[in-house]
Protein backbone atom coordinates (compact mmCIF):
# COMPACT_ATOMS: atom_id res chain seq x y z
CA UNK A 1 0.00 0.00 0.00
CA UNK A 2 1.25 3.49 -0.83
CA UNK A 3 2.04 5.89 2.00
CA UNK A 4 0.86 8.75 -0.20
CA UNK A 5 -1.06 8.71 -3.46
CA UNK A 6 -2.19 11.78 -5.34
CA UNK A 7 -4.36 11.43 -8.45
CA UNK A 8 -4.71 14.25 -10.97
CA UNK A 9 -4.53 17.09 -8.43
CA UNK A 10 -5.41 20.58 -9.59
CA UNK A 11 -5.31 23.78 -7.58
CA UNK A 12 -5.68 27.29 -8.94
CA UNK A 13 -5.12 30.50 -7.00
CA UNK A 14 -6.42 33.86 -8.04
CA UNK A 15 -3.81 36.59 -7.85
CA UNK A 16 -5.23 39.94 -8.96
CA UNK A 17 -6.71 39.33 -12.41
CA UNK A 18 -4.59 36.25 -12.98
CA UNK A 19 -5.30 32.61 -12.30
CA UNK A 20 -2.16 30.85 -11.05
CA UNK A 21 -2.08 27.09 -11.50
CA UNK A 22 -0.31 25.89 -8.37
CA UNK A 23 -1.06 22.26 -9.17
CA UNK A 24 -1.72 21.21 -12.72
CA UNK A 25 -2.89 17.59 -12.97
CA UNK A 26 -0.31 16.23 -10.53
CA UNK A 27 -0.23 12.51 -9.80
CA UNK A 28 2.35 10.84 -7.57
CA UNK A 29 2.66 7.63 -5.63
CA UNK A 30 5.02 7.45 -2.63
CA UNK A 31 5.78 4.10 -1.07
CA UNK A 32 6.08 3.59 2.67
CA UNK A 33 9.54 4.40 4.00
CA UNK A 34 10.59 6.51 1.01
CA UNK A 35 12.60 9.69 1.52
CA UNK A 36 11.26 12.09 -1.09
CA UNK A 37 12.28 15.62 -1.95
CA UNK A 38 9.92 17.91 -3.84
CA UNK A 39 12.01 20.46 -5.61
CA UNK A 40 10.80 23.52 -7.43
CA UNK A 41 11.60 27.18 -7.76
CA UNK A 42 9.43 29.56 -5.76
CA UNK A 43 5.82 29.33 -6.95
CA UNK A 44 6.48 25.95 -8.53
CA UNK A 45 3.78 24.21 -6.51
CA UNK A 46 5.81 22.15 -4.03
CA UNK A 47 4.29 23.72 -0.90
CA UNK A 48 0.79 23.50 -2.37
CA UNK A 49 1.34 19.80 -3.07
CA UNK A 50 2.72 19.28 0.43
CA UNK A 51 -0.29 21.07 1.93
CA UNK A 52 -2.68 18.98 -0.13
CA UNK A 53 -0.96 15.77 1.00
CA UNK A 54 -1.13 16.94 4.62
CA UNK A 55 -4.81 17.85 4.40
CA UNK A 56 -3.98 21.47 5.17
CA UNK A 57 -5.39 22.59 1.84
CA UNK A 58 -8.11 21.10 -0.33
CA UNK A 59 -7.37 20.69 -4.04
CA UNK A 60 -9.87 22.00 -6.60
CA UNK A 61 -9.99 18.55 -8.14
CA UNK A 62 -8.25 15.22 -7.89
CA UNK A 63 -7.83 12.77 -5.05
CA UNK A 64 -5.40 12.41 -2.15
CA UNK A 65 -4.88 9.16 -0.29
CA UNK A 66 -2.90 8.68 2.92
CA UNK A 67 -2.17 5.06 3.78
CA UNK A 68 -4.97 4.10 1.42
CA UNK A 69 -7.58 6.42 2.93
CA UNK A 70 -8.98 9.18 0.76
CA UNK A 71 -8.69 12.50 2.60
CA UNK A 72 -9.59 15.24 0.11
CA UNK A 73 -13.29 14.81 0.80
CA UNK A 74 -13.07 14.81 4.60
CA UNK A 75 -14.35 17.62 6.84
CA UNK A 76 -12.14 19.78 9.07
CA UNK A 77 -12.47 17.57 12.12
CA UNK A 78 -11.74 14.38 10.20
CA UNK A 79 -8.73 16.00 8.52
CA UNK A 80 -7.46 17.12 11.93
CA UNK A 81 -7.74 13.53 13.08
CA UNK A 82 -5.72 12.25 10.10
CA UNK A 83 -3.03 14.87 10.71
CA UNK A 84 -2.95 14.09 14.41
CA UNK A 85 -2.61 10.33 14.04
CA UNK A 86 -0.74 9.80 10.80
CA UNK A 87 1.28 12.84 9.85
CA UNK A 88 4.14 14.75 11.43
CA UNK A 89 4.82 18.31 10.26
CA UNK A 90 7.96 20.41 10.16
CA UNK A 91 7.50 23.88 8.82
CA UNK A 92 9.98 26.42 7.55
CA UNK A 93 9.58 28.75 10.53
CA UNK A 94 7.37 29.40 13.49
CA UNK A 95 7.30 25.73 14.22
CA UNK A 96 6.89 25.76 17.96
CA UNK A 97 4.33 26.99 20.47
CA UNK A 98 6.18 29.81 22.24
CA UNK A 99 4.59 29.33 25.68
CA UNK A 100 5.59 25.67 25.90
CA UNK A 101 9.04 24.29 26.74
CA UNK A 102 10.95 22.02 24.35
CA UNK A 103 9.61 18.95 26.14
CA UNK A 104 6.04 20.29 26.21
CA UNK A 105 6.23 21.09 22.51
CA UNK A 106 7.36 17.55 21.79
CA UNK A 107 4.63 16.16 24.02
CA UNK A 108 1.97 18.43 22.55
CA UNK A 109 0.82 16.11 19.76
CA UNK A 110 0.94 13.08 22.05
CA UNK A 111 -1.05 14.94 24.67
CA UNK A 112 -3.74 15.83 22.13
CA UNK A 113 -3.68 12.19 21.06
CA UNK A 114 -4.37 11.21 24.65
CA UNK A 115 -1.08 9.40 25.31
CA UNK A 116 -0.62 8.81 29.08
CA UNK A 117 1.79 11.10 30.90
CA UNK A 118 4.42 8.47 31.75
CA UNK A 119 4.61 7.30 28.16
CA UNK A 120 4.82 10.87 26.89
CA UNK A 121 7.71 11.69 29.19
CA UNK A 122 9.52 8.53 28.22
CA UNK A 123 9.10 9.15 24.50
CA UNK A 124 9.89 12.86 24.65
CA UNK A 125 13.02 12.27 26.73
CA UNK A 126 14.24 9.66 24.28
CA UNK A 127 13.52 11.67 21.15
CA UNK A 128 15.02 14.88 22.52
CA UNK A 129 18.14 12.93 23.35
CA UNK A 130 18.11 11.45 19.86
CA UNK A 131 17.98 14.91 18.25
CA UNK A 132 20.79 16.13 20.52
CA UNK A 133 18.79 18.33 22.87
CA UNK A 134 19.41 16.50 26.09
CA UNK A 135 19.54 19.04 28.92
CA UNK A 136 17.52 21.63 27.03
CA UNK A 137 14.13 20.06 27.70
CA UNK A 138 12.84 22.89 29.85
CA UNK A 139 13.87 25.74 27.59
CA UNK A 140 11.24 27.79 25.83
CA UNK A 141 11.63 28.38 22.06
CA UNK A 142 12.82 31.96 22.64
CA UNK A 143 15.73 30.56 24.67
CA UNK A 144 16.94 28.30 21.85
CA UNK A 145 18.75 28.88 18.55
CA UNK A 146 17.01 28.40 15.21
CA UNK A 147 18.70 25.04 14.72
CA UNK A 148 17.68 23.85 18.16
CA UNK A 149 14.11 24.96 17.51
CA UNK A 150 14.02 23.00 14.26
CA UNK A 151 15.31 19.96 16.10
CA UNK A 152 12.50 20.29 18.62
CA UNK A 153 10.06 20.55 15.72
CA UNK A 154 11.53 17.39 14.18
CA UNK A 155 11.36 15.64 17.55
CA UNK A 156 7.70 16.62 17.87
CA UNK A 157 6.99 15.50 14.30
CA UNK A 158 8.38 11.99 14.86
CA UNK A 159 7.76 11.50 18.60
CA UNK A 160 4.41 9.82 18.14
CA UNK A 161 5.79 7.68 15.34
CA UNK A 162 3.65 8.95 12.46
CA UNK A 163 3.75 7.01 9.23
CA UNK A 164 4.47 10.17 7.29
CA UNK A 165 6.54 13.30 7.97
CA UNK A 166 5.99 16.36 5.79
CA UNK A 167 8.62 19.09 5.96
CA UNK A 168 8.35 22.40 4.17
CA UNK A 169 11.72 24.09 3.62
CA UNK A 170 12.97 22.81 6.99
CA UNK A 171 16.48 24.16 6.43
CA UNK A 172 15.56 27.55 5.00
CA UNK A 173 16.46 29.50 8.11
CA UNK A 174 19.44 27.40 9.15
CA UNK A 175 23.16 27.76 8.50
CA UNK A 176 24.76 25.04 6.37
CA UNK A 177 26.23 23.11 9.30
CA UNK A 178 22.93 22.99 11.18
CA UNK A 179 21.08 22.15 7.96
CA UNK A 180 23.42 19.19 7.37
CA UNK A 181 22.89 18.00 10.95
CA UNK A 182 19.12 18.24 10.53
CA UNK A 183 19.14 16.30 7.26
CA UNK A 184 21.37 13.65 8.81
CA UNK A 185 18.79 13.38 11.57
CA UNK A 186 15.96 13.01 9.02
CA UNK A 187 17.90 10.31 7.22
CA UNK A 188 18.60 8.46 10.43
CA UNK A 189 14.93 8.58 11.50
CA UNK A 190 13.89 7.45 8.03
CA UNK A 191 16.22 4.52 8.17
CA UNK A 192 15.67 3.51 11.79
CA UNK A 193 11.91 3.95 11.99
CA UNK A 194 10.97 3.40 8.34
CA UNK A 195 9.14 6.73 8.45
CA UNK A 196 8.12 8.17 5.09
CA UNK A 197 9.57 11.66 4.57
CA UNK A 198 8.34 14.16 2.00
CA UNK A 199 10.40 17.32 2.03
CA UNK A 200 9.69 20.42 -0.06
CA UNK A 201 12.89 22.34 -0.74
CA UNK A 202 14.86 24.26 -3.27
CA UNK A 203 18.11 23.69 -1.39
CA UNK A 204 20.41 21.56 -3.59
CA UNK A 205 22.22 20.05 -0.59
CA UNK A 206 18.97 18.83 0.94
CA UNK A 207 18.11 17.09 -2.34
CA UNK A 208 21.25 15.00 -2.12
CA UNK A 209 19.86 13.28 1.00
CA UNK A 210 16.67 12.16 -0.77
CA UNK A 211 16.18 8.70 -2.19
CA UNK A 212 13.69 10.11 -4.64
CA UNK A 213 13.69 13.57 -6.15
CA UNK A 214 10.54 14.99 -7.73
CA UNK A 215 11.09 18.24 -9.65
CA UNK A 216 8.17 20.54 -10.27
CA UNK A 217 7.71 23.59 -12.44
CA UNK A 218 4.58 25.75 -12.76
CA UNK A 219 2.50 23.24 -10.87
CA UNK A 220 3.55 20.20 -12.89
CA UNK A 221 5.91 17.34 -12.20
CA UNK A 222 8.68 17.61 -14.72
CA UNK A 223 11.10 15.05 -13.34
CA UNK A 224 10.89 12.08 -10.97
CA UNK A 225 14.29 10.57 -10.19
CA UNK A 226 15.11 7.58 -8.01
CA UNK A 227 18.48 8.81 -6.68
CA UNK A 228 19.33 5.54 -4.92
CA UNK A 229 19.09 3.69 -8.22
CA UNK A 230 21.07 6.44 -9.95
Amino acid sequence: MSAVRCVDLCKTYRQGDQDIKALDHVSIDIAKGQFVCLSAPSGGGKTTLLNAIGGLDIPDSGEVYIAGERIDNLNKGELADIRLKQIGFVFQAYNLIPVLSARENVEFVMQVQGVPSAERIKKSTAILKEVGLEGLEDRRPAEMSGGQQQRVAVARAVASRPALVLADEPTANLDSKTADELMALFTELNEHHNTTFVIATHDQRVMTYAGRLIRMLDGRIVDDINQRAA
Binding site: L56, K76, A80, L96, I97, L100, Q111, V112
Partner: protein, 409 residues
Protein backbone atom coordinates in the same frame (compact mmCIF):
# COMPACT_ATOMS: atom_id res chain seq x y z
CA UNK B 1 -9.33 15.39 30.69
CA UNK B 2 -5.82 15.20 29.28
CA UNK B 3 -6.85 17.54 26.49
CA UNK B 4 -8.33 19.92 29.05
CA UNK B 5 -4.97 19.84 30.82
CA UNK B 6 -3.08 21.01 27.75
CA UNK B 7 -5.77 23.56 26.88
CA UNK B 8 -5.69 24.93 30.43
CA UNK B 9 -1.90 25.14 30.41
CA UNK B 10 -1.90 26.95 27.05
CA UNK B 11 -4.66 29.32 28.17
CA UNK B 12 -2.95 30.14 31.46
CA UNK B 13 0.44 30.79 29.87
CA UNK B 14 -1.04 32.76 27.00
CA UNK B 15 -2.81 34.92 29.55
CA UNK B 16 0.55 36.05 30.91
CA UNK B 17 2.27 36.54 27.57
CA UNK B 18 1.29 40.17 27.63
CA UNK B 19 1.51 40.94 31.34
CA UNK B 20 0.59 44.56 31.04
CA UNK B 21 -2.54 43.98 29.00
CA UNK B 22 -3.70 41.19 31.29
CA UNK B 23 -3.09 43.23 34.43
CA UNK B 24 -4.93 46.24 33.00
CA UNK B 25 -7.84 44.00 32.03
CA UNK B 26 -7.81 42.33 35.44
CA UNK B 27 -7.87 45.77 37.03
CA UNK B 28 -10.85 46.78 34.88
CA UNK B 29 -12.75 43.59 35.71
CA UNK B 30 -11.83 43.86 39.39
CA UNK B 31 -13.00 47.46 39.64
CA UNK B 32 -16.12 46.67 37.64
CA UNK B 33 -17.03 43.75 39.89
CA UNK B 34 -16.22 45.85 42.95
CA UNK B 35 -18.54 48.56 41.63
CA UNK B 36 -21.28 45.98 41.01
CA UNK B 37 -21.10 44.58 44.53
CA UNK B 38 -20.33 47.83 46.36
CA UNK B 39 -23.18 49.76 44.77
CA UNK B 40 -25.49 46.81 45.27
CA UNK B 41 -24.52 46.70 48.97
CA UNK B 42 -25.22 50.42 49.32
CA UNK B 43 -28.57 50.10 47.58
CA UNK B 44 -29.49 46.99 49.55
CA UNK B 45 -28.51 48.76 52.76
CA UNK B 46 -30.58 51.80 51.83
CA UNK B 47 -33.66 49.78 50.88
CA UNK B 48 -33.29 47.50 53.91
CA UNK B 49 -33.10 50.53 56.17
CA UNK B 50 -36.09 52.12 54.44
CA UNK B 51 -38.09 48.95 54.89
CA UNK B 52 -37.02 48.43 58.49
CA UNK B 53 -37.67 52.08 59.39
CA UNK B 54 -40.99 52.07 57.61
CA UNK B 55 -42.10 48.82 59.20
CA UNK B 56 -41.08 50.25 62.56
CA UNK B 57 -43.33 53.24 61.90
CA UNK B 58 -46.22 51.17 60.58
CA UNK B 59 -45.46 49.34 62.93
CA UNK B 60 -45.49 45.54 62.89
CA UNK B 61 -44.98 42.91 60.23
CA UNK B 62 -48.62 41.85 60.29
CA UNK B 63 -51.56 44.07 61.17
CA UNK B 64 -55.18 43.39 61.93
CA UNK B 65 -57.95 45.93 61.35
CA UNK B 66 -61.63 46.25 60.72
CA UNK B 67 -62.11 45.43 56.99
CA UNK B 68 -63.07 49.06 56.22
CA UNK B 69 -60.31 50.68 58.27
CA UNK B 70 -57.88 50.96 55.36
CA UNK B 71 -60.31 53.06 53.33
CA UNK B 72 -61.59 55.05 56.28
CA UNK B 73 -59.18 54.95 59.23
CA UNK B 74 -61.67 56.43 61.70
CA UNK B 75 -62.75 55.15 65.06
CA UNK B 76 -66.08 54.08 63.53
CA UNK B 77 -64.17 51.28 61.86
CA UNK B 78 -62.71 49.88 65.05
CA UNK B 79 -62.68 46.19 65.88
CA UNK B 80 -65.34 45.19 68.32
CA UNK B 81 -63.13 42.81 70.21
CA UNK B 82 -62.43 43.34 73.86
CA UNK B 83 -58.94 43.62 75.32
CA UNK B 84 -59.55 40.41 77.28
CA UNK B 85 -60.46 38.47 74.13
CA UNK B 86 -57.34 39.69 72.35
CA UNK B 87 -55.13 38.65 75.25
CA UNK B 88 -56.81 35.26 75.31
CA UNK B 89 -56.14 34.71 71.61
CA UNK B 90 -52.63 36.11 71.25
CA UNK B 91 -50.81 35.90 74.57
CA UNK B 92 -48.50 32.91 74.42
CA UNK B 93 -49.23 32.32 70.72
CA UNK B 94 -45.55 32.52 69.83
CA UNK B 95 -45.37 36.03 68.40
CA UNK B 96 -42.18 37.99 68.97
CA UNK B 97 -44.42 40.84 70.16
CA UNK B 98 -47.98 42.03 69.69
CA UNK B 99 -49.96 45.04 70.79
CA UNK B 100 -53.45 46.41 70.43
CA UNK B 101 -53.66 50.16 69.84
CA UNK B 102 -56.05 52.91 68.98
CA UNK B 103 -54.93 54.66 65.83
CA UNK B 104 -57.02 57.52 64.55
CA UNK B 105 -56.45 60.78 62.67
CA UNK B 106 -56.52 63.83 64.92
CA UNK B 107 -55.69 67.51 65.07
CA UNK B 108 -53.21 68.71 67.65
CA UNK B 109 -53.16 72.35 68.63
CA UNK B 110 -50.88 74.41 70.77
CA UNK B 111 -51.62 77.98 71.64
CA UNK B 112 -49.83 78.99 68.44
CA UNK B 113 -50.24 76.29 65.75
CA UNK B 114 -52.37 73.32 64.72
CA UNK B 115 -51.37 70.24 62.80
CA UNK B 116 -52.96 67.03 61.58
CA UNK B 117 -51.37 63.98 63.21
CA UNK B 118 -51.90 60.26 63.63
CA UNK B 119 -52.97 59.73 67.21
CA UNK B 120 -51.72 56.50 68.70
CA UNK B 121 -53.26 55.25 71.90
CA UNK B 122 -50.83 52.68 73.21
CA UNK B 123 -50.04 50.46 76.14
CA UNK B 124 -46.34 51.29 76.75
CA UNK B 125 -45.53 47.83 78.12
CA UNK B 126 -46.88 46.05 75.04
CA UNK B 127 -45.35 48.64 72.70
CA UNK B 128 -41.85 48.45 74.10
CA UNK B 129 -40.67 45.79 71.60
CA UNK B 130 -42.53 47.29 68.66
CA UNK B 131 -42.05 51.04 68.82
CA UNK B 132 -39.68 52.71 66.36
CA UNK B 133 -37.87 54.61 69.10
CA UNK B 134 -36.25 53.74 72.37
CA UNK B 135 -38.28 54.89 75.39
CA UNK B 136 -35.05 55.65 77.24
CA UNK B 137 -34.00 58.13 74.55
CA UNK B 138 -37.13 60.24 74.88
CA UNK B 139 -36.55 63.76 76.15
CA UNK B 140 -38.61 64.00 79.30
CA UNK B 141 -40.29 60.63 79.71
CA UNK B 142 -42.45 58.17 77.83
CA UNK B 143 -45.91 57.08 78.94
CA UNK B 144 -45.89 55.10 82.16
CA UNK B 145 -48.99 53.02 81.50
CA UNK B 146 -52.11 52.88 79.36
CA UNK B 147 -53.85 55.33 81.67
CA UNK B 148 -51.11 57.95 81.53
CA UNK B 149 -52.60 61.41 81.06
CA UNK B 150 -49.62 62.90 79.23
CA UNK B 151 -48.71 63.04 75.55
CA UNK B 152 -45.42 62.26 73.78
CA UNK B 153 -44.79 64.00 70.46
CA UNK B 154 -41.89 64.24 68.03
CA UNK B 155 -39.22 66.93 68.32
CA UNK B 156 -40.10 68.32 64.93
CA UNK B 157 -43.80 68.56 65.79
CA UNK B 158 -42.91 70.35 69.00
CA UNK B 159 -40.91 72.87 66.99
CA UNK B 160 -43.77 73.31 64.55
CA UNK B 161 -46.30 73.78 67.31
CA UNK B 162 -43.82 75.96 69.16
CA UNK B 163 -44.46 73.91 72.26
CA UNK B 164 -42.32 71.82 74.58
CA UNK B 165 -42.20 69.58 77.62
CA UNK B 166 -44.55 70.72 80.35
CA UNK B 167 -46.76 72.73 78.01
CA UNK B 168 -50.32 71.81 77.15
CA UNK B 169 -51.79 70.87 73.78
CA UNK B 170 -55.28 69.94 72.70
CA UNK B 171 -56.13 66.84 70.70
CA UNK B 172 -59.28 66.75 68.65
CA UNK B 173 -60.79 63.78 66.81
CA UNK B 174 -64.18 62.16 66.19
CA UNK B 175 -66.00 59.61 68.31
CA UNK B 176 -68.05 56.71 66.84
CA UNK B 177 -71.11 58.98 66.66
CA UNK B 178 -69.13 61.46 64.53
CA UNK B 179 -69.15 63.95 67.36
CA UNK B 180 -66.07 65.98 68.15
CA UNK B 181 -64.04 64.39 70.89
CA UNK B 182 -61.30 66.54 72.34
CA UNK B 183 -59.08 66.66 75.36
CA UNK B 184 -56.17 68.64 76.71
CA UNK B 185 -52.83 66.87 77.34
CA UNK B 186 -49.58 67.99 78.90
CA UNK B 187 -46.49 67.27 76.81
CA UNK B 188 -44.40 64.86 78.87
CA UNK B 189 -41.84 63.71 76.29
CA UNK B 190 -40.29 64.41 72.90
CA UNK B 191 -39.11 61.54 70.77
CA UNK B 192 -36.60 61.45 67.91
CA UNK B 193 -37.02 59.42 64.73
CA UNK B 194 -34.85 58.71 61.69
CA UNK B 195 -36.74 61.23 59.62
CA UNK B 196 -38.27 64.59 60.42
CA UNK B 197 -41.47 63.53 58.67
CA UNK B 198 -42.04 60.77 61.23
CA UNK B 199 -41.33 63.16 64.11
CA UNK B 200 -44.08 65.36 62.78
CA UNK B 201 -46.62 62.61 62.13
CA UNK B 202 -47.25 60.65 65.32
CA UNK B 203 -48.50 61.59 68.79
CA UNK B 204 -48.54 58.96 71.58
CA UNK B 205 -51.00 58.91 74.44
CA UNK B 206 -52.17 56.21 76.84
CA UNK B 207 -54.53 53.71 75.22
CA UNK B 208 -57.08 53.77 78.03
CA UNK B 209 -57.03 57.58 78.02
CA UNK B 210 -57.80 57.71 74.29
CA UNK B 211 -60.44 54.99 74.56
CA UNK B 212 -62.13 57.10 77.20
CA UNK B 213 -61.77 60.27 75.14
CA UNK B 214 -63.28 58.59 72.06
CA UNK B 215 -65.95 56.71 74.01
CA UNK B 216 -65.02 53.29 72.58
CA UNK B 217 -64.82 51.19 75.73
CA UNK B 218 -61.82 48.82 75.59
CA UNK B 219 -61.90 48.27 71.84
CA UNK B 220 -59.02 49.02 69.50
CA UNK B 221 -58.60 50.01 65.85
CA UNK B 222 -55.54 47.88 65.15
CA UNK B 223 -53.53 45.01 66.47
CA UNK B 224 -49.92 44.70 65.32
CA UNK B 225 -47.72 41.63 65.35
CA UNK B 226 -43.96 41.29 65.05
CA UNK B 227 -42.14 38.28 63.58
CA UNK B 228 -38.41 37.58 63.75
CA UNK B 229 -37.58 38.83 60.25
CA UNK B 230 -39.47 41.18 57.98
CA UNK B 231 -38.56 38.98 55.02
CA UNK B 232 -40.41 36.04 56.51
CA UNK B 233 -43.75 37.04 57.95
CA UNK B 234 -45.81 34.21 56.54
CA UNK B 235 -45.88 32.12 59.74
CA UNK B 236 -47.04 35.11 61.77
CA UNK B 237 -49.66 35.97 59.15
CA UNK B 238 -51.01 32.43 59.10
CA UNK B 239 -51.11 32.26 62.90
CA UNK B 240 -53.19 35.44 63.10
CA UNK B 241 -55.42 34.32 60.25
CA UNK B 242 -56.15 31.02 61.92
CA UNK B 243 -57.01 32.77 65.18
CA UNK B 244 -59.49 35.20 63.63
CA UNK B 245 -62.61 35.09 61.49
CA UNK B 246 -63.66 37.25 58.53
CA UNK B 247 -64.82 40.12 60.71
CA UNK B 248 -61.27 41.47 60.59
CA UNK B 249 -58.76 42.12 57.87
CA UNK B 250 -55.26 40.72 58.37
CA UNK B 251 -52.48 42.00 56.13
CA UNK B 252 -48.73 41.65 55.79
CA UNK B 253 -46.57 44.78 55.92
CA UNK B 254 -45.98 44.77 52.18
CA UNK B 255 -49.70 44.70 51.58
CA UNK B 256 -50.12 47.71 53.83
CA UNK B 257 -47.25 49.72 52.36
CA UNK B 258 -47.33 48.59 48.75
CA UNK B 259 -44.67 51.10 47.73
CA UNK B 260 -42.16 49.44 50.04
CA UNK B 261 -43.30 45.99 49.07
CA UNK B 262 -42.88 46.80 45.40
CA UNK B 263 -39.50 48.40 46.02
CA UNK B 264 -38.25 45.30 47.78
CA UNK B 265 -39.70 43.17 45.00
CA UNK B 266 -37.96 45.06 42.20
CA UNK B 267 -34.68 45.24 44.10
CA UNK B 268 -33.41 41.93 42.74
CA UNK B 269 -34.30 43.03 39.21
CA UNK B 270 -32.55 46.34 39.77
CA UNK B 271 -29.41 44.60 41.02
CA UNK B 272 -29.39 42.32 37.99
CA UNK B 273 -29.80 45.24 35.59
CA UNK B 274 -27.05 47.16 37.37
CA UNK B 275 -24.68 44.18 37.12
CA UNK B 276 -25.48 43.64 33.45
CA UNK B 277 -24.98 47.35 32.63
CA UNK B 278 -21.54 47.37 34.24
CA UNK B 279 -20.65 44.12 32.52
CA UNK B 280 -21.64 45.55 29.13
CA UNK B 281 -19.06 48.28 29.65
CA UNK B 282 -16.52 45.66 30.71
CA UNK B 283 -17.32 43.36 27.83
CA UNK B 284 -15.86 45.80 25.29
CA UNK B 285 -12.50 45.52 27.04
CA UNK B 286 -12.81 41.77 27.40
CA UNK B 287 -13.71 41.17 23.76
CA UNK B 288 -10.99 43.57 22.63
CA UNK B 289 -8.43 41.72 24.75
CA UNK B 290 -9.48 38.36 23.35
CA UNK B 291 -9.59 39.61 19.76
CA UNK B 292 -6.10 41.06 20.13
CA UNK B 293 -4.85 37.87 21.79
CA UNK B 294 -6.28 35.79 18.94
CA UNK B 295 -5.03 38.20 16.29
CA UNK B 296 -1.49 38.04 17.69
CA UNK B 297 -1.53 34.26 17.69
CA UNK B 298 -2.98 33.49 14.26
CA UNK B 299 0.12 31.55 13.15
CA UNK B 300 0.30 29.68 16.42
CA UNK B 301 -3.36 28.73 16.13
CA UNK B 302 -2.70 27.66 12.54
CA UNK B 303 0.20 25.53 13.76
CA UNK B 304 -1.95 23.82 16.39
CA UNK B 305 -4.65 23.15 13.80
CA UNK B 306 -2.02 21.78 11.40
CA UNK B 307 -0.70 19.48 14.11
CA UNK B 308 -4.14 17.96 14.51
CA UNK B 309 -5.87 19.99 17.18
CA UNK B 310 -9.56 20.18 16.36
CA UNK B 311 -11.34 23.52 15.88
CA UNK B 312 -13.44 22.78 18.96
CA UNK B 313 -10.29 22.58 21.07
CA UNK B 314 -9.12 25.97 19.79
CA UNK B 315 -12.55 27.34 20.70
CA UNK B 316 -12.22 25.76 24.14
CA UNK B 317 -8.74 27.18 24.67
CA UNK B 318 -9.87 30.77 24.00
CA UNK B 319 -12.92 30.34 26.22
CA UNK B 320 -10.81 28.89 29.03
CA UNK B 321 -8.49 31.88 28.66
CA UNK B 322 -11.46 34.22 28.95
CA UNK B 323 -12.85 32.34 31.95
CA UNK B 324 -9.46 32.45 33.69
CA UNK B 325 -9.23 36.18 33.13
CA UNK B 326 -12.76 36.68 34.45
CA UNK B 327 -12.24 34.37 37.42
CA UNK B 328 -9.12 36.25 38.51
CA UNK B 329 -10.90 39.58 38.00
CA UNK B 330 -13.92 38.32 39.92
CA UNK B 331 -11.75 37.11 42.79
CA UNK B 332 -10.05 40.52 42.96
CA UNK B 333 -13.37 42.38 42.67
CA UNK B 334 -15.13 40.26 45.29
CA UNK B 335 -12.24 40.62 47.71
CA UNK B 336 -12.06 44.36 47.11
CA UNK B 337 -15.80 44.67 47.68
CA UNK B 338 -15.62 42.66 50.90
CA UNK B 339 -12.60 44.64 52.11
CA UNK B 340 -14.30 47.99 51.48
CA UNK B 341 -17.83 47.13 52.61
CA UNK B 342 -17.07 45.36 55.90
CA UNK B 343 -15.39 48.42 57.50
CA UNK B 344 -18.39 50.53 56.46
CA UNK B 345 -21.04 48.26 57.96
CA UNK B 346 -21.24 50.42 61.08
CA UNK B 347 -22.82 53.04 58.87
CA UNK B 348 -21.95 55.87 56.50
CA UNK B 349 -23.07 59.31 57.58
CA UNK B 350 -24.93 60.86 54.66
CA UNK B 351 -26.53 63.63 56.66
CA UNK B 352 -25.20 66.17 54.18
CA UNK B 353 -27.89 64.97 51.76
CA UNK B 354 -30.37 63.85 54.42
CA UNK B 355 -33.00 66.43 53.51
CA UNK B 356 -33.17 65.17 49.95
CA UNK B 357 -33.30 61.56 51.02
CA UNK B 358 -35.94 62.12 53.66
CA UNK B 359 -38.70 62.31 51.08
CA UNK B 360 -37.84 58.70 50.24
CA UNK B 361 -37.96 57.72 53.88
CA UNK B 362 -34.20 57.22 54.00
CA UNK B 363 -32.37 58.04 57.21
CA UNK B 364 -29.10 59.98 57.43
CA UNK B 365 -27.05 56.84 58.19
CA UNK B 366 -26.52 54.34 55.42
CA UNK B 367 -25.61 50.78 56.39
CA UNK B 368 -24.18 48.84 53.39
CA UNK B 369 -25.47 45.26 53.31
CA UNK B 370 -23.15 42.69 51.77
CA UNK B 371 -25.16 39.61 50.86
CA UNK B 372 -23.42 36.45 49.66
CA UNK B 373 -26.29 36.04 47.19
CA UNK B 374 -25.37 39.36 45.54
CA UNK B 375 -21.74 38.27 45.25
CA UNK B 376 -22.85 34.97 43.71
CA UNK B 377 -25.19 36.81 41.37
CA UNK B 378 -22.44 39.19 40.18
CA UNK B 379 -20.03 36.27 39.77
CA UNK B 380 -22.56 34.16 37.91
CA UNK B 381 -23.67 36.95 35.59
CA UNK B 382 -20.09 37.97 34.78
CA UNK B 383 -19.06 34.39 34.04
CA UNK B 384 -22.16 33.72 31.94
CA UNK B 385 -22.00 36.95 29.95
CA UNK B 386 -18.20 36.66 29.73
CA UNK B 387 -18.62 33.22 28.26
CA UNK B 388 -21.07 34.57 25.69
CA UNK B 389 -18.83 37.56 24.90
CA UNK B 390 -15.82 35.32 24.33
CA UNK B 391 -17.68 33.04 21.94
CA UNK B 392 -17.21 35.38 18.98
CA UNK B 393 -13.39 35.71 19.09
CA UNK B 394 -13.09 32.04 20.06
CA UNK B 395 -15.28 31.03 17.14
CA UNK B 396 -13.24 33.16 14.75
CA UNK B 397 -10.03 31.53 15.98
CA UNK B 398 -11.43 28.05 15.53
CA UNK B 399 -12.51 28.81 11.95
CA UNK B 400 -9.02 29.63 10.68
CA UNK B 401 -7.78 27.50 7.81
CA UNK B 402 -4.44 26.11 8.95
CA UNK B 403 -2.79 26.70 5.58
CA UNK B 404 -3.76 30.39 5.66
CA UNK B 405 -3.17 30.95 9.36
CA UNK B 406 0.26 29.40 9.41
CA UNK B 407 1.52 31.67 6.63
CA UNK B 408 -0.03 34.81 8.09
CA UNK B 409 2.57 37.55 8.54
Amino acid sequence: MRLFGVLFRLAWRNLWRNHRRTIIMLGAIGVGVWAMIFMTALTRGMVDQMVIDSIAVLPGHVQMHHPDFQDDPSVSNRMLISEADLKKKFDGAGFKAWAGRVRVPAVISSERESRGVTLLGVDPDAERGISFFNYDEVDGRFLVDASDQGIVIGRRLAETLETGIGKRVVLMSQDPDNEIADRGFRVIGLYSANTKAVEEAYAFVGKATVQKMLHIGDTTTEVVFLSDDYRNVEATFQAVMSAMDESVSVRRWYEIDTYLGTMLGVMDGFVLIWIVVIFLALSFGLVNTLVMAVFERVREIGLMLALGMKPGSILGQIIIESMLLLTLGLAAGNFLAWATIVPLQDGIDISVVADGLEMWGVSSMLYPKLYASDMFLATGVVLLLGFLASLSPAWRASRYLPVEAITKV
